[in-house]
Amino acid sequence: MKKIVKENLPALFRAIAAQQDLFLPIKTAGQTNFGLWTEEAEVDLETLKTVKSGKDMFFPQSETLYTCLKDDKKIYIKPEALQDRNFVAFGMKGCDVKGLEVLDRVFLADPVDTFYAARRKHGIIVAMACNEPETSCFCKVFGVDCAEPSADVAVWLTSTALCWKAQTEKGEALTATLTAAGLLEEATEADLHHVEGEKAVTRAIVEKLPYMNLSLEGWNGEALNEKFNSPLWEKLYKGCLACGTCTFVCPTCQCYDIKDYKTGTGVQRYRCWDSCMYSDFTMMAHGNNRTSQMQRYRQRFMHKLIYFPANNDGMYSCVGCGRCVEKCPSSLNIVKVIKAFAAEKTNEGGAR
């Protein structure tokens, strides 16, 4: 394991940014999100959760796919260049990284989304262990160990230093460069001890989190129609404003729209995040198959908890980051959905 004393973090960031783009949590007008490092940026490693998960480093909210130019009747298509420069995503949390594994199942499945694939290929992820998790967190339910995130590099921020452990070839290469530059030094026994201590403390807190024992029993492919037809949805969706907050802060939501932007000289074909909560999500010239908010609300959770696992060897499209829990304007969320179905089950078995 390597380390760097806290005071030298700006030098570390400067050195990384000199070689490639560096994205990390930056505070702008009071809110922390992943952004491009600059000397002026206010780096914020203290905030537990960025508002957005950081998936936009790999799957931007809007990105141009190609530009169409017209010359009389002729059409010319100029595809957008793919990411061909390395970049470092510093400070993602265990849940965020797990979120990418979910996105990989979608975008790297045949036919590969080359835009995403190029970013995955060139992205080096330095994931930071959590300390002091929130009561909204439930990543352990989805098999994430937030005390020791799995990524190219895992880092721990202690009171005095950032401890650094390469976990992949990509991570080793970055570590070697930074060590050669004299930025990273060998961690001492005391540092290792400190990190182990931090891990133990965090894991102990995780055990106490209120959603820690959330049961996913019954959320599998066989229950598809039973869950789909449940009268509970009619109750659960009522407070939904049909906004896209949950989907846009979610590390695993990947639905997108494809649209044209007229530049004046041509047409830019771009894709942008879309939300299954939006009333026009499934609107097409010949009709709409999800016309009510109940149907749209149901779709989001059926997708995350049943459809996605059915298509992806049981992997859920939720990583327990708890962003929706914290951000929904109406305090609706996936936990409430899971709990409501569990309670229904208990009621059925009980007095009723």
């Binding site: 909210q61 809007s62 407070g239 906004c243 907050t245 729209d257 649209k259 939006y278 304007p329």
Partner: protein, 324 residues
């Protein structure tokens, strides 16, 4: 709170209403959700406390389309929105039985968290009609206390008052929570140089993720189809293709609700990025008051709005231009 549940049960039982629009307790003591209760049994989950900031007026648009009367609980500031919706023929007064509930200031989880309270397991002091001076939080990292006032939503600091503008009956005690000047923030921004002002809004609006929470929660945004949802324009509501688009979305929205916005503050409450969106609306309200005299949208159901009526005394456009 039990008073509200009991009264709701009575009104359901005697057939005055067929459903109840209120708040349902969440699983954490600080995350209630707007909810519809169809019978007395469901009311066991009813809650009303300091965390019930959601303005239920807009939900009445949908409830007005249902058979029978809906009992709705409205806080004093929510009644302005309801009146405005009546004025715009978006809700049906006859389909609503309004209990004006007392309000002692509603709480902001964002604010509470910004004061270093995290991993909350339980909270006390947030009682609706007997709010404590101090909120006490049991957290995974120890007990924390926060002054109730410091934890309030921004809008409660400029509270419009304890009076309900429309109701069938009243329940619960209110408290005056106003401790700031409504236009102080606007004046601070007006005093900025154009460059500073631009930088301020640039920083704030660049955070926008186009989730549309502000629009969807806004009682004044009641268009059946929002212009930003149209496919005919390049202004896709969810794309942040350019920073210009983000600004345009919020500025157009502010213009569209000008004169109709009651300053309910829901836009700022729901923004996941903490953008103080109310500032746009409040600037318009301030200007309207300057040019046309004092006016509070939603204070009644029949007065003409300053921007939808014309008098010979109206201010000349040139004055607006000069003042900038």
């Amino acid at each position: 709170m039990q008073r509200l549940i009991d009264r709701a049960k009575e009104l359901l039982a005697d057939g005055t209403v067929v459903r109840v629009l209120g708040w349902k307790a969440g699983d954490m003591g600080y995350n209630p959700e707007p909810a519809m209760f169809d019978n007395a049994a469901e009311l066991r989950n009813f809650v009303y406390d300091g965390f019930c900031g959601a303005n239920l007026s807009k939900f009445m648009i949908e409830a007005s389309k249902l058979e029978g009367k809906t009992l709705v609980f409205l806080k004093p500031c929510d009644t302005y929105s309801f009146n405005q919706l009546i004025k715009e023929h978006r809700v049906d007064r006859d389909k609503a039985y309004i209990i004006g509930v007392g309000c002692q200031g509603k709480l902001s989880m964002e604010k509470i968290k910004s004061m270093g309270v995290k991993a909350i397991e339980s909270v006390s002091g947030a009682d609706a009609f007997d709010a404590a001076e101090e909120l006490t939080f049991e957290t995974l990292y120890g007990e924390k206390t926060v002054a109730y006032k410091d934890a309030m939503l921004q809008r409660c600091h400029v509270c419009k008052g304890k009076e309900h503008m429309i109701y069938d009956e009243l329940l619960g005690e209110s408290k005056d929570t106003k401790d700031a000047d409504r236009f102080a923030e606007v004046e601070r921004i007006e005093a900025m140089s154009p460059e500073e002002r631009f930088a301020f809004f640039q920083a704030e609006l660049s955070k926008c993720i186009r989730c549309n929470a502000c629009r969807n929660v806004c009682p004044a945004c009641s268009c059946r189809k929002c212009i930003f949802d149209g496919t005919k324009y390049d202004s896709a509501q969810k794309a942040n293709t350019t920073s210009f688009e983000e600004k345009m979305f919020h500025i157009i929205r502010a213009f569209h609700v000008a004169g109709r916005c009651t300053d309910c503050g829901e836009c700022s409450r729901v923004c996941p990025q903490g953008i103080p969106l109310h500032l746009f609306n409040r600037k318009f309200i301030k200007d309207i008051e300057t040019f046309y005299g004092e006016y509070q949208a939603g204070a009644d159901t029949d007065s003409k709005g300053p921007l939808t009526s014309y008098t010979f005394d109206d201010v000349e456009p040139s004055i607006v231009a000069e003042r900038g």
